[in-house]
Amino acid sequence: MESFKIIIDGKECEAYPGETVLEVAERNGIVIPVFCYHKELRPEGACRVCLVEVEGAPRLATACTLRAMPDMVVKTNTERVKKARAGVIELILNNHTLECPICDKAGECELQMVGFRYGPKKSRYREPRREKDIVIQGPLIEIDNDRCILCRRCIRMCGENMGNRVLGIFNRGYKAYISPFNGDFLEGGCEHCGSCIDVCPVGSLLDRAFKYKDRPWRMEKTWTTCTLCGSGCKMEVDTYHGKVKRVVGRIGINNGHNRGYLCVRGKWGWDIVYSDKRLKKPLLKKGEELKEISLEEALRILKEKIEGKEINLFLESSLTNEELSKLSAVFGNTNVTSDALTFSLAVEGIASITGERRTASFSSTEKSDVVFVIGDFIEEVNPVIATLLRLLVIQKGKRLIRVGSYPSKLDAVAFSSLIVSPEEVIDLLKHFIMGTIDLYYSSGDRKIDSAAKALRNKKVAFIIGGTTLFSPDIKEISQTVAYLADRMGNATITVIPPKANSIGVTKLFDLKPPEKLKGSVNVLVNTELERDFPGIELPKAEFTVVFTPFYTHDIAKADLVIPIETGVEKEGKVEGIERTLDLKRAVVPKYQLTEIISQLPYREGSREKRELKIKKKPGESILSGEKGEIYFTLLVNRTGWNSVSYYSGNVAKVAGRRELHLHPEDAKGRKIVTLKGEHGELPISVVENDSLIPGTAVLRVERVTRDLKGLVKFPFTSNFKCRIAEE
C-alpha cells in the first residue's frame, strides 16, 4: 500500500489508505482523548471527545471515524477544539456519580484521566444529577448504570467481537441503560468472558469477584500465562500482600497472542488456588486411613519405594517444561502416558507426511488468506482461540472455512461451514485435495466446490482442534490435512493443544496407551484419572504415589500423596500454541513440584529413538457405524474444562449443566433417555437441538465423573458410538 503524508499539529505523519486520523496520530505519539473508541472495536463516534479541527472543514470532526486523506491538515490543540472537548466532558461528568472513592475502576478509569487532563475546571450546571439507580447483578458481572457514559464499548465487544450479543441498551435518551436480556446474564446466554469489563472506560461494568476487594493502583501486577487450557493466554494477575485479587486481560495493552481476550476460566478461575479442596500436607496410607506426614518423611518413603523400580508415569499435560524434564529424569521416560496422547497422534499424522513432528504457531494465520478449521467445539475447549479466529474474519477480513460434524459458534462468521457425519469427514477432505488442484473437479456438492475454489492459489492456514482431537480417526484426519497442505504447497498446519503444555509433553515423552505400561510403581502427577483418563483402571502396582494440588478421587487409591502447586502459583515455561510461553509466579506456593522432585535421585534414562514412517498418502476413514448407533461427543463445558468449575467458587456460579443434545429425529420426543455403551448405562436428560445433524449427539457434561466410565474410554472421548435404549 502506498503511504501519503498528512499534517497533525504541524507534524508531518505518514498515513496509509483506510486509516483514521486517530490511528495515525496514535502511531506518531500525538494524544487525542477518547472514550468510545477502542483499538479492538469498530469505531462508532458516539462520545465526541476526540473532536479535531480539519483545515478547510467548517465543523469539528471526530478523529476516530475520520479517514485520513492526502494533504490533510489536522489540529488537535486549538482553543476551539479544547473548548469543544471540555464541553463534551462537562456534559458527560454532569450525570456521572461522584463515587470515585468507592468505585473499583478509580485509578485506571479513563473518564478520570481524560477528565483531569482535558475537562473543564468547573461545571456550570446547577440541575440535579440524573439518577437511574439501576444496578444489574449477574453471578460474576455487575452493571452499575449510574456510572455508565453510554459509549457502547461493551455492546460492540459482546455483539461483534465475541459474537454473543448479550448486552444491549434499553429505553431511550436520558433513560437509556445497559442491560442483558431481562436483566439476567445467564438467561441472555452470557459466556462470562469478561471482555466487557475490560473495555469499559468507567466503573460501570464490574467484576463481582473483585468488587470492593482492593484498589487498582496498589496491587502488584504479574504478567503470566493461563494454564487452564491450551490457548496459552497472557494475563495480568493482580496481587496484594501475596493474595490474588483479580485477573485482567487488558485488551489493547496486552502484547500476548491473545491480545487480552480471556475466557471464563482465565478471568475467574484464579481462585482454584484458594479452593477449599486444596491439599494442605502430604498424606501416607497407614492401614485404611491416610495420615498427615511431613514432607521430609514423605520424600524418604518415596525414595525408598521407587529405588530400582520401573515406574508408570501418568501425566496431566499442563505441567511446565521444567517440571516435565525433572520428572523424566527422576521417574524415567519409558512408561509414560498422558492425556496429550491424542494430540501426539495428531502430530504423528502430520509428521507421516511432512517428516517433522512440529506444528505451526498460531500467528501463521495472520499471514494467510484463508483459515481452514477442522474441528468441533473449539469455542468450548479453547474459547480464546475461537475468539481470535472470529476476529481474523471480522477485523482482518480473512475467509474462514470450517469442517466438522457438529454446529459451532464459528459458523456465524464462516465463509463456508461444512458439517458432515464423522464418518464422512475424511472423504470430504479428499474432495478438497482434488478440488483445490484440479480445476474441473466436481464433488457433486456446490458448497464443497465453492469452498475448494476459495482455497485455490491462496495461502491457507489449516487449524485442527477442539473435540476433533479426541476422535478415534484423528491420526487419519491430520494425515489427510497434512497431505492436502502438502499438495497445496503454500500452507501451514496448526494443531490447537487442548491443554497448556500438550506440545511439551509430546516433545519430551514417547507416550504409550495406559494398557501398555509395564512398571511396578504408579506415579500420578497433577492428574485426575476420571477426568484425564476416563474409563481406565490404574494398573496393578506395589505402590501408588499421587502428586496433586487437590483432594481428588485418586487419593483413595494412593499410598502416598504429595501436594503441589497449581494455577497462578506455577512458574516456568510451557510450549504453547504460540512459541514458548513464560509463566511467572504470582503467589508463592507452600509445596513446589520442582523443588520436591529435585530432592529425589536422578536415574540413568535412555530414550528409544522414535521411528517415523513417511508415507505420502491421505488417511482412510476408519469410522463405520451400524444402524441405530449414534456418534457421541463427550463435551466438557467451557466452565468445566480442567475441572475449573469444580475447584473454583467463582466459576461454579456460572457452571453449565449435564445434558444430552439430540436431533429431534433421534430424540423422538423423549425427555430422558438411557445411553448404552460397551460397559455401562447412563440415564440423562435430553435437549432437542435441530442444528445437529441426525445420527450425532453431544453429551455435555460439567465434569467427567465415574458414571461415564461405561460409555467413554480413553483416549478417544469424541465420536464414540453408543446406542440409545428403547423404552
Binding site: 455483539g159 450479543r165 448479550v166 448486552l167 444491549g168 441498551i169 434499553f170 429505553n171 431511550r172 442491560s179 442483558p180 436480556f181 431481562n182 438467561e187 441472555g188 446466554g189
Partner: protein, 159 residues
C-alpha cells in the same frame, strides 16, 4: 390470545414473505404482541427471538425503544394526550392534568382497575385539531377541558 397462538401468528408472519430480511419481521411481530396482550413481557420476546432467530436482547431493545410498545402493563384503554408544540399552546397540558385528576393517577400510570392508562405524548400528526387526544385507535380533536369526562364515560368510566 395464548402464547402458543402467538407463536403460530409469528410463524405465519415469518412465512408470509412480506419483507426482505428476517430482522424486518421484528416490528410487525412486536405489534402482534402489543395488540393482543396487556404488556410485552419476556415470554413473548423469547418466542419472537426463537422464531426470527434474532438475539434475545435485540428484541428487547426494540420493544423498549419505541414508546408505543408497552413493556409495563397497560390499561384496556390507552389515553394519549399530545403535549407537543401546537397542542401545548392550545391547552394540551391542562387536558392532560384534567385526565390525571379525574382518574387519580399521574402521566404514564395505569388506574388500579386496569381500565385506563394516561400518557403524555409527542406529536401524533393531528395538529390541525389541536389539542388532540387519542384513546386506543380513536381520535378526538379540539378537546376542551369540559369534554374530558365525556370522553372517559364513552369508554366506561364510572366516576
Amino acid at each position: 390470545m395464548t402464547l402458543e397462538e402467538f407463536r403460530l401468528e409469528v410463524k405465519k408472519l415469518k412465512n408470509s414473505g412480506k419483507y426482505p430480511s428476517r430482522k424486518s419481521y421484528l416490528l410487525p411481530a412486536l405489534w402482534i404482541a402489543e395488540k393482543n396482550f396487556p404488556q410485552i413481557n419476556s415470554e413473548m420476546i423469547k418466542i419472537i427471538a426463537e422464531e426470527l432467530e434474532i438475539p434475545l436482547v435485540e428484541v428487547e431493545e426494540v420493544a423498549r425503544f419505541y414508546a408505543m410498545f408497552h413493556t409495563e402493563r397497560k390499561g384496556n384503554f390507552v389515553i394519549r394526550v399530545c403535549t407537543n408544540l401546537s397542542c401545548m399552546l392550545n391547552g394540551g397540558e391542562e387536558i392532560l392534568k384534567e385526565f390525571c385528576r379525574l382518574l387519580g393517577i399521574s402521566p404514564g400510570e395505569t388506574t388500579p382497575d386496569g381500565m385506563f392508562t394516561v400518557e403524555s405524548y409527542e406529536c401524533m400528526g393531528l395538529c390541525d385539531g389541536a389539542p388532540a387526544v387519542t384513546v386506543n385507535e380513536e381520535r378526538f380533536s379540539k378537546v376542551k377541558v369540559e369534554d374530558v369526562p365525556k370522553i372517559l364515560k364513552k369508554f366506561g368510566w364510572k366516576g
